[in-house]
């Protein structure tokens, strides 16, 4: 066990967006990344080359001497791999990184387990500044909670404990604040490009919309036709979208929801 050293050694299970960014960040912080495992040889090799560590596609050949095994796999395949995975090293700490998956997924499989959830949107093409990423950690013992806090703090200044129940709500909230927000940008780009207008014209507005909620609550920051209940404009917008019935439906539902939030105050 290398727990007495300040930087734990880590094996990454997965080579997708989250594993890629996390393993690089821990590597840069001085942790030893002992191995990358992925079912997909190409992904495993590509990431292992960047880190400069071995890789495997065979779950029975995973390094058996790391302090922490960090599992970043698609949530839907997590369940099927864990019972086999924990055989690698029965003394190590195992964590997954999924916002919506309970710590209990590990229960009965191994002695030391937990969760390390970095609440951020990871794309391979884009470098992440982990200093600003909020980490929410949880483990089945005080010692391992402390170990996860110390470990995540090697790369982030914002590390918090959160229960699985709290994490579920953080994750669904993040879906609205990030994925759904980004989809509003996507619809915006689609509407502009279908009329020969550049998406870049929208960036100052997008930036100010994000910046505003640093200073005002979202409900009090709201503006626009739905906030003013300006029915003429909303009708004419839905008329403009009539060739895309799903977008009309979205426009209508979101506008009604905005109006409801405004009148709740």
């Amino acid at each position: 066990m290398e727990l007495s050293k300040s930087r734990p050694s880590i094996v990454f299970i997965g080579a997708g967006n989250v594993a890629t960014h996390l393993s690089k960040a821990f590597h840069d912080s001085g942790c030893r990344i002992k191995m990358i495992y992925s079912k997909t040889q190409e992904s495993a090799r590509a990431l292992a080359e960047v880190i400069g560590c071995p890789y495997t596609t065979d779950i029975t050949s995973i390094d058996n001497d790391a302090d922490i095994y960090i599992v970043s796999l698609k949530d839907s395949v997590l369940n099927s791999i864990l019972s086999e995975l924990v055989k690698c090293n029965t003394k190590a700490l195992y964590v997954h990184t999924a916002g919506s998956v309970s710590i209990d997924i590990w229960k009965g499989l191994t002695d030391r387990y937990g969760v390390m959830y970095p609440m951020q949107t990871f794309s391979k093409q884009r470098k992440v500044d982990f200093n600003n990423v909020h980490f929410f950690v949880e483990a089945n013992s005080k010692e391992d909670t402390d170990l996860l806090i110390r470990t995540a703090s090697l790369i982030s200044n914002h590390v918090f404990e959160a229960s699985s129940e709290q994490r579920k709500y953080l994750h669904i909230s993040a879906v609205f604040a990030c994925n759904f927000t980004n989809h509003m940008y996507a619809i915006c780009e689609h509407l502009l490009s279908s009329h020969g207008l550049p998406f870049s014209a929208m960036l100052p507005l997008i930036d100010e919309t994000a910046e505003k909620v640093h200073h005002l609550s979202p409900v009090s920051a709201q503006t626009g036709p739905a906030q003013r209940n300006d029915k003429n404009i909303m009708e004419s917008h839905m008329e403009m979208l009539k060739n895309e019935p799903e977008t009309v439906e979205l426009y209508k539902l979101i506008s009604e929801s905005i109006h409801k939030y405004q009148t709740k105050q």
Copy 2:
């Protein structure tokens, strides 16, 4: 007429968020704000006091010697006031600031007219940096288009000509990029606060989501359960929201739309 001078004199019709921010910015840029008109005495007086100019609530007493009359009223009341308003000064240039209202609203009422649309989200409580605001202008003559470009350029570095048709699409796109995005933040805050979690934890994610689309297209920046088509997680999220059927419906529709945009690529 003072058009030969570099800074036109302006009367503001309206004292809401847009009129407040625009009149202050033009005042600070050295334009003479000759008067504020609003039906609401309190709003007219409050804004006039900040600017240091007269105000009126009587449409027949509006200053009759300004170069430009800028009308920032709720879109739904615009129509009812314009025919009376243009009697103030039959030689001046009249513009409205509404993204979705055609320049033709002025047709037949007066000789010189146009639109000056600042594409931004204005809240009274928050100062606006006009340098970064995109302005879209249009007038019924080349001379007045030039005058509007020169005038808007006194406060912004991003002034463009746009037809009423283009402006309609800019405005509906801005509703998605700003108002609907902000509503995603509002739902996020609601979900967090109902579970004792602080909205501030979400700000780094909100910032990165906005910053990402400076570098990647929104469709390729997308992440999350809908992008991965992770049905388990989406089902469990909708189960968490079941006490709010409208939010479940929004979650479902937006997730379906994300999936559709991903598979269109």
